[in-house]
């Protein structure tokens, strides 16, 4: 088969596996993905990790139900009661002069109760359209416009599929700017929150902001109508009260815009996508054991054919077990992490590196010579230390 377009290659690679568009978390994860082709192709082909990972033998990442429950409870308490807990934060932190709350809930649950007959696609369309209209109204300065929009639905086109994003809230006041609000249930103790979680929340909110920018441009308004800061609502100390903090999202938005402008690196990825393999259909409950084994083998072959870059960042990826197994079988130096892989460069296997160190293998290139030299110094230093100890 002749492939004209890298998009065709991606679709062919995905094969019969279900496609699921990326969500904000995975898009934000693009900022983490440390140049790993395997992740990029899988993301670009809109393959759901949640289904792929267990099929190729990785431990299934499972979320804590208590943490989820707590998150839901917190969100409900913050947005209930006409947003009485949220309003002071919005006024104070975002400096939005919201006198009275005119809110609208665009969540799936809410819209379904209003329009019970719509199917899924029509529901999506309705939400997207209503969000667009509400935002247009807000920006036009309509006095009766909504100022707190719950669960709006934004669209971001990536790869070959539109991605639907659902921020928790959008806030706006007549003369102000449009600001996204994210509600998370990790604690902010004495004004200090876990930096890793805050950074992840910031990246996620930045994705929403990028989608908002596209929408606002589409409506013909300048992007200055969007605030450069988002509001992150967390629990205060050890309670379930709300505490807010502004997040300056400009650096994340800039990075994301750059990454998304190049996504999915269509022309660059093209050469890397193997044409001879493709993912199988996802086994369902009724699939027989033999079919399941065959599907697993096919998936492993397909994913294995994608080049990977193993390193320190891999511990956050659902495919860790698979890629680590491969690194072990290939005896890769990268098993030790990014620093070791960078130091050894082209000397990619453990036995190669140790042979250069011991002198049983002569270096041929200048790079090999440098690596051999450095490792030999280390070996001699360790040997001397052993004699002295």
């Amino acid at each position: 088969m002749i492939f004209r377009d890298a998009r065709e290659r991606l679709v062919h690679f995905r094969g019969d596996f279900p496609a699921k568009p990326l969500d904000a978390r995975r898009i934000a994860g693009l900022l983490d993905a440390p140049g790993c082709m395997r992740r990029q192709v899988i993301d670009a082909a809109s393959v759901p990790m949640k289904d792929l990972a267990p099929l190729i033998g990785c431990r299934e990442p499972r979320q804590s139900s208590y943490a989820l429950q707590r998150g839901v409870r917190f969100e409900q308490s913050v947005t209930s009661n006409a947003m009485s807990f949220l309003l002071p934060l919005v006024r104070e932190q975002l400096a939005l002069d919201v006198r009275e709350v005119r809110e609208q809930d665009l969540s799936t649950v809410q819209v379904r109760t209003q329009f019970p007959d719509l199917d899924r696609d029509a529901l999506t369309d309705h939400r997207v359209r209503t969000t667009r209209d509400s935002v247009a109204q807000m920006l036009a300065g309509d006095q009766r416009a909504i100022n707190l929009l719950r669960h709006p639905y934004l669209v971001l086109t990536l790869g070959d599929m539109p991605t639907y994003l659902e921020p928790d809230l959008l806030a706006y006041a007549a003369s102000g700017t449009l600001a996204p609000i994210e509600i998370k249930s990790f604690p902010c103790i004495d004004g200090i929150a876990d930096p890793a979680k805050t950074a992840e929340a910031a990246r996620q909110t930045a994705v929403y902001m990028v989608a908002l920018c596209r929408l606002v441009e589409n409506l013909g308004q300048p992007s200055s109508r969007i605030a450069s800061q988002g509001l992150l609502v967390m629990t205060r100390d050890f309670t379930l009260e709300a505490s807010g903090s502004l997040l300056d999202l400009r650096p994340q938005v800039r990075r994301l815009e750059r990454v998304l402008a190049n996504f999915p690196h269509v022309t660059q990825l093209a050469a890397q996508i193997p044409t001879a393999v493709s993912l199988p259909a996802l086994p369902s409950r009724d699939t027989s054991q033999t079919e399941r084994t065959a599907a697993s083998a096919q998936a492993r072959e397909a994913v294995g054919a994608l080049p990977m870059r193993f390193g320190d960042g891999c511990t956050g990826c659902p495919l860790l077990d698979f890629c680590r197994g491969q690194a072990q079988r290939e005896e890769s130096v990268a098993q030790l992490g990014t620093q070791a892989a960078n130091m050894c460069g082209d000397v990619s296997t453990v036995s190669h590196a140790l042979a250069l160190t011991a002198g049983t293998r002569t270096p041929t290139t200048a790079a090999e010579k440098a690596v051999a030299e450095e490792l030999r110094r280390a070996a001699i230093a360790v040997q001397l230390a052993g004699a002295a100890a």
Partner: protein, 468 residues
């Protein structure tokens, strides 16, 4: 560092962890207080249960049948608090007399908190300390008086989690300092897999499937065992309240007992290493800090700021920098395998002394290096003679300063002595010809006063319009 990579490669080849240090660089108390525990994911203020104690065969187990119930939580934690307070009480001076000589106070020793990993150390000391120390034993929501006291002690421990301190030992960090495994550094945070690499590589696969050592439980365990235990508590609390916590205690014991054993196993492995010399002084400093804390507690003036001011932050960072530099220096001087890293990178020189010329002033040395020494002329290095300290200044071991003057055609390096052995009576400090030496970039200990610059740098300046 290249030595880390080389040792990592060796570990992969052997299929077993290799030694990263030839000495033990932490103090091990004769009777440490080991704690392993879980809290509800997402809610660090809601512990599920703890195993704790000073004897490996007899951990005390507490469980909170309904972790979201504050009254039950504090009632159970009171047991832990009493045990912790009782443990540290044995290290408190009977009378706050600063006229007591330093020696006796150090001999009384200090408390040591052992946890499995960094995350547990942060949860227990920083977060739980903060949670407990503001509780009141009277008023609207009274709790057992042991809780705020335990909170004060935990907050003290939190402030002492600095480089070089042995008051709180997160075992995965300490093990990683002393052994190099063949896996990603982040995977070493699992104490079971680290121990498998060090002492039982065949059990590696099993170790990776082990339940986490805390403070966050495994989501599957949470969905099954934890959920069942909470339901059982709900059923028993009305009919048989005395038994209501038992299911949770049992669930916690089963889940955390392997991690409890792992902590003691790690302590055994560390105890087998010969102690590094300068560990003793660092521990004395730890004990001194502890004594100051107990004096403040008994005087009622133990005060911990919730949110440090900019000046305190700056001071703290300067202190951390100084402690890190001091620790690196001391570890290298105590331990040839740590010094090997500096030898490999070319900062330190390992070699044989070829000639010592005492005729001129200053004395001159010629050394044949084991590895090409590529530093420029004028490089300062230091020689720490391995002899008994001078009687005159017992706290200050002698250090000889040398400056590189050139290299001979054979590749030998020549040095001039610049301090520490210029006078004739100090010539005995110099090495003899034929002796193997290591000249390091680490000079005598700096005893600067902590000086603050006239203006705090912009990164620490106070915002005029409120907090950032």
């Amino acid at each position: 560092m290249s030595v880390d990579v080389y040792l990592g490669l060796s570990a992969i080849e052997r299929g077993r962890a290799v030694a990263r240090a030839a000495r033990r660089h932490v103090h091990l108390a004769a009777e440490p207080f080991v704690v392993v525990g879980y809290h509800l994911p997402g809610d660090p203020g809601a512990p599920i249960g703890l195993l704790y104690g000073t004897r490996r065969e007899q951990p005390t187990v507490i469980g909170v049948g309904e972790p979201r119930d504050p009254k039950l939580r504090f009632a159970q934690l009171a047991q832990f608090a009493m045990a912790l307070n009782g443990y540290v009480a044995q290290f408190v001076q009977p009378s706050a007399s600063s006229r007591r000589p330093q020696d006796t106070r150090v001999r009384m020793g200090g408390p040591q908190l052992i946890v499995a990993n960094q995350a547990t150390a942060q949860w227990l000391c920083d977060l739980m300390g903060r949670r407990l120390r503001y509780l009141r034993s009277e008023g609207d929501w009274p709790v057992h008086p042991s809780l705020p006291t335990a909170g004060a002690h935990l907050s003290f421990f939190a402030g002492q989690r600095v480089p070089g301190s042995s008051l709180v030992l997160p075992l995965t960090e300490v093990l990683a300092q002393h052994w190099t495994t063949g896996q990603l550094a982040a995977l070493n945070a699992n104490i079971a897999s680290q121990l498998a690499w060090i002492s039982d590589p065949d059990s590696l696969e099993e170790a990776e499937r082990a339940l986490p050592a805390g403070p966050v439980p495994d989501p599957e365990w949470e969905a099954l065992e934890l959920h069942d235990a909470i339901k059982a508590y709900g059923k028993l609390v009305e009919s048989r309240p005395a038994q209501a916590n038992r299911p949770m205690i049992q669930a916690i014991d089963e889940a955390l007992r392997p991690s409890w054993q792992a902590c003691w196993h790690a302590l055994d492995l560390l105890a087998d290493l010969p102690p590094a010399e300068r560990t003793r002084d660092r521990w004395s400093h730890d004990v001194h800090q502890w004594n100051r804390h107990t004096e403040r507690v008994s005087a009622g003036t133990a005060y911990f700021r919730k949110r440090p001011k900019q000046l305190q932050v700056f001071r703290y960072l300067t202190r951390l920098e100084r402690l890190t530099a001091d620790l690196n220096r001391e570890m290298a001087l105590d331990d040839p395998l740590i010094m090997a890293g500096y030898v490999a990178s070319g900062e330190a020189l390992s070699g044989d002394v070829v000639a010592v010329d005492l005729s001129g002033r200053p004395p001159r040395l010629q050394v044949r290096p084991h590895l090409p020494f590529l530093r420029p002329i004028g490089t300062d290095v230091f020689w720490h003679p391995p002899q008994a300290a001078d009687v005159r200044s017992p706290g200050r071991p002698p250090v000889v300063s040398l400056t590189m003057t050139g290299t001979t055609t054979d590749g030998d390096v020549t040095f001039n002595v610049t301090a520490g052995a210029i006078q004739k009576k100090l010539h005995h400090r110099l090495p003899r010809p034929g002796q193997q030496v290591v000249f390091s970039p680490f000079g005598p200990r700096d005893y600067h006063q902590d000086t603050l610059p006239a203006e705090l740098p912009w990164t620490h300046a106070d915002d005029q319009d409120g907090e950032r």
